[in-house]
Symmetry: C2
Subunit: 232 residues, 2 copies
């Protein structure tokens, strides 16, 4: 086994199509993959099962689900008593959907950085994507660039002039259709990914932002969407 094969990566894995694709890309680059998910009180519990399945079936050597109390302070329609809005509805005063979870990706990357440091990994993959874009501030290229500045200073090895941990967002500039084509070529089973913010009896609602983006993505990619929907 060469040095390349032994490089470790921490992959943030939500259970949705983007992070599943990021995991497939990491595996394809020869990384030894450590998958990281979070139970942050999200209403969509199915995505945690999806993450476990994807980690296992795609050869991650370990999968952690870290319980974190993001729902303690609320602030998102994904975690508090508000209903999950239909796509396009219910923007906040800053023009961002109500499904935005304050500092979610920031918290996720912080944990990934800590696990990477503990493992001796120098790479974190996140499936953030700025095309066909949710409007979330923490999915943009300048946000990831700022994280890399911080990561250089935040870890023991990086701060000692050694190799820093790099935060990579390999899907950043891909369209959703390109993501699906890439993932299919790498063997991602999109039928096992969960995108819906509020599934009902295991069926995607087809109406929330995340469903609407996904449906559009599969249409553009020219493949049938294997996910089951409430209204076909």
């Amino acid at each position: 086994m060469g040095a390349q094969a032994r490089e470790k990566v921490v992959v943030l894995l939500s259970g949705g199509m983007d992070s599943a694709t990021a995991l497939a890309m990491a595996r394809n680059e020869g990384f030894e993959c450590y998958a990281l998910s979070f139970d942050y009180g999200q209403k969509c519990r199915e995505e945690l099962h999806a993450a476990a399945f994807l980690a296992s079936s795609m050869g991650a050597v370990r999968h952690f689900v870290i319980p974190i109390g993001l729902d303690r302070y609320g602030g998102s329609a994904l975690t508090d008593e508000r209903p999950v809005p239909r796509s396009g509805e219910a923007r906040t005063e800053f023009g961002i959907p109500e499904t935005y979870v304050p500092a979610r990706n920031t918290v996720f990357i912080a944990f990934a950085l800590g696990w990477a440091e503990t493992l001796g990994a120098h790479t974190v993959f996140i499936g953030a994507n700025s095309v066909d874009y949710s409007g979330y501030p923490d999915c943009r290229p300048e946000y990831i660039a700022a994280w890399n500045q911080l990561a250089r200073l935040a870890t023991a090895e990086g701060a000692s002039g050694g190799r820093p941990v790099e935060i990579r967002a390999p899907l950043m500039h891909l369209s959703k259709a390109q993501i699906i084509r890439t993932g299919r070529a790498l063997g991602v089973d999109y039928g096992m990914t969960v995108s819906c913010y509020a599934p009902q009896d295991g069926l995607a609602c087809g109406k929330c932002d995340s469903c609407v983006l996904r449906i559009k993505a599969f249409a553009e990619a020219g493949f049938p969407d294997p996910a089951p929907y409430v209204e076909a």
Copy 2:
């Protein structure tokens, strides 16, 4: 009540002397204080009781203790099966004490940023200090500066060209003796703060890095240390 009195701040509160002083400084500036602590599996459980007492006695309007699984991936003598080393012992390969918890402050600030955003606060206080310094990479001014770059991009309001959340480390350039003098002038009860990494029956060990720094600090400040020690 003026506008100044209604500004909110999230104060990271460990229960030690630095964060207690940061809370006192925030209160003294007229902020409405929201105190945030974490149960990350630290062996020193006393510090969480201390944090609750300090938040309550120093007028924080709310105190959250967020359980987070930092101990899941280990990597520190403060959370895993290793004993807490005596001061000066057991440095890692990067010259940093074994008590360093990978990405701890990074995770803490990420949560504070999310709570600040939810509250409509624009300030986070952290008691990080680079003088009489632990050697931890995540306590340095350049680290806090990088966080402020990230925070400008990470929140909905900041990313929309509005007011970002500012991460402030008001103790950064104070010596430990200056911190104690400042806190005493602001009414901090240092007898209720817990610095020891591994107290025994409520008594500080007097030998770990944190105890040694504290003992030195009180000696330099010219005040008796009100904390109880195993060996007086």
